[in-house]
């Protein structure tokens, strides 16, 4: 198939996903994955530039996730959130890993990817639900958000630590990452002031350069840029809090040009025939993930949020972006095959939708209208 034709198709799918998203009120990411599934299963191949943009978008999404962490909130709720968020990662990771390894018969590294991909909690899904219910203003909502930050952090830590392979460049990668994490928050305010507020957007280019550099060095060092990208976002979150317009511009560039290809690529690598042939395995992974979240999160939620423990547990069971990022990492690195990828991403998507619906429909705490 002609590459330019495929490019035009990609452009159309990106546009179509946005239109559908606005019309039906479902996130553009989910629609892009869905359209990617359709395109991929109709035989449209992932072009090299789509693959590259998709990979870079995964790093940008991780950076943005870090930049969206509310540090003061995390500090204020650290003890409880570390416990809930930590257990929210740990139990699903261990139980899903064991299930993949012993029951599904996946190899060790593929099982580790399964454990990571299915232990995540979707901060964005949780946030949307909390805002809609008004719970984001309450102590319950703030604690759930803080716990979700911790689960995200645990996910990127696991993804980086478990798959690290050390060579000479790994040290270079680590040293440069640490240097950037220390230096960038110090020089960025000056840089933003000196070069900011221009249509040519030097601030965005600075961040993109840093993320490209991390991807390059991570690749040389047989590692991955997700951890430093997330921490960079984290250490810059206060700066972005003061420069909200800058964060908004990063999001605009990301949503217009980058993330569509991340989610389309994810969808295009999902095989419908594999899903149909593995429906029981898919259901089993889903049940294990949700059950593990309940085993890990419900008891501690009962202690800290007794009035909304089940609601909290269901929200902590949601997953989307980091689950997809982990799965794509596994696929790109050859750790999981396309069939395993299809199953994992399908379970991740199911975990974004099903627990949210159940939480909102049956367990949503009723709070009064704000004055």
């Amino acid at each position: 198939m002609n590459e330019l034709f495929t490019t035009a198709v990609m452009g159309f799918l990106v546009l179509l996903a946005s239109i559908i998203s606005v019309e039906v009120g479902i996130s553009v990411a989910l629609i892009e994955i869905f359209l990617g599934v359709v395109a991929g299963n109709l035989g449209i191949k992932v072009l090299p530039w789509v693959s590259f943009l998709g990979t870079f978008a995964g790093v940008v999404l991780t950076f943005l996730a870090g930049a969206e962490v509310d540090i003061p909130l995390l500090r204020a709720k650290f003890k409880e959130s570390a416990l809930i968020g930590g257990l929210s990662f740990l139990f699903p990771f261990v139980l899903t890993f064991l299930f993949a390894w012993f029951i599904a018969g996946w190899d060790l590294r593929a099982s580790e990817i399964a454990g990571i991909a299915l232990s995540t909690t979707s901060l964005a899904v949780v946030y949307a639900v909390l805002v809609e219910t008004g719970l984001n203003r309450t102590q319950i909502g703030k604690l759930i958000m803080a716990a979700t930050f911790i689960t995200d952090l645990a996910t990127v830590l696991a993804l980086s630590i478990l798959f690290v392979q050390v060579n000479a460049f790994t040290i270079v990668f680590m040293l440069v990452s640490i240097a950037l994490i220390i230096i960038l928050p110090k020089i960025s305010p000056w840089f933003f002031k000196r070069y900011g507020e221009r249509v040519i957007e030097p601030e965005i280019k600075l961040m993109f350069f840093v993320l490209f550099l991390l991807m390059y060095l991570g690749d040389l060092g047989l590692s991955h840029a997700v951890l430093p990208a997330f921490i960079l976002g984290l250490v810059l979150s206060q700066l972005y809090e003061k420069n909200k317009l800058q964060l908004q511009r990063m999001r605009v560039v990301g949503f217009a040009l980058l993330t569509p290809f991340f989610f389309l690529k994810a969808g295009m690598n999902i095989s419908i025939s594999v899903l149909i042939a593995n429906l029981s395995l898919l259901a089993a992974f889903f049940v294990v993930k949700i059950a593990a979240k309940f085993v890990g999160v419900l008891p501690v939620s009962r202690r800290y949020i007794p009035e909304s423990a089940t609601y909290t547990t269901l929200l902590m069971s949601t997953g989307l972006t980091f689950g997809t990022i982990s799965s794509i990492y596994g696929l790109n690195a050859g750790i999981i095959n396309k069939a395993q990828f299809s199953i994992l991403v399908a379970v991740v998507i199911a975990s974004a939708i099903i627990p949210t619906i159940i939480a909102q429909r049956f367990f949503s705490p009723k709070i009064g209208f704000e004055e």
Partner: protein, 140 residues
């Protein structure tokens, strides 16, 4: 007869007519008048907070403009209007808000401007009329 009147306001032409009727009744009965705008659900299953946050900001700006316009119309008629914007499914929020704040009359337009919602969820005015404990006036 009516002490607290709630007008459901989505900014549509019908909602403006409902507001004008509310102002008229508030003047007749000396009632307290409120305008309630309901923001529909945020993008479900979003990828990053930014997607939700941007949608939230866009909608807040949109509904702020509706509130300002409603206040302007009421002020022109010499009536004090209190406004409120809330999230959720319109009918549910209108009914809950009216119950929680003890409104004795809800006024809303026969048709708002969300065709898709009407198709998928049924008419907001029908639902409010069916399920609200307060009196309901549907303005055509």
């Amino acid at each position: 007869m009516f002490k607290k009147i709630l007008v459901a306001n989505d900014g549509s032409e019908g909602a403006i007519r409902a507001l004008e009727k509310g102002i008229e009744l508030a003047q007749i009965f000396g009632a307290e008048l409120w305008s309630l705008s309901v923001e529909g659900p945020l993008p479900a299953y979003a990828a990053i907070i930014g997607e939700v946050e941007e949608a939230r900001i866009e909608r807040e700006n949109y509904f702020k403009a509706i509130e300002d316009e409603a206040e302007r119309i009421a002020k022109e008629k010499g009536v004090e209007l209190k406004t409120k914007v809330a999230y959720g499914h319109p009918a549910d929020v209108i009914i809950r808000f009216a119950e929680e704040r003890n409104f004795d009359l809800i006024i809303l337009a026969h048709k708002g401007h969300t065709l898709a919602d009407r198709f998928l969820l049924g008419s907001t005015s029908d639902k409010v009329a069916d399920h609200s404990k307060s009196s309901v006036l549907i303005v055509k």
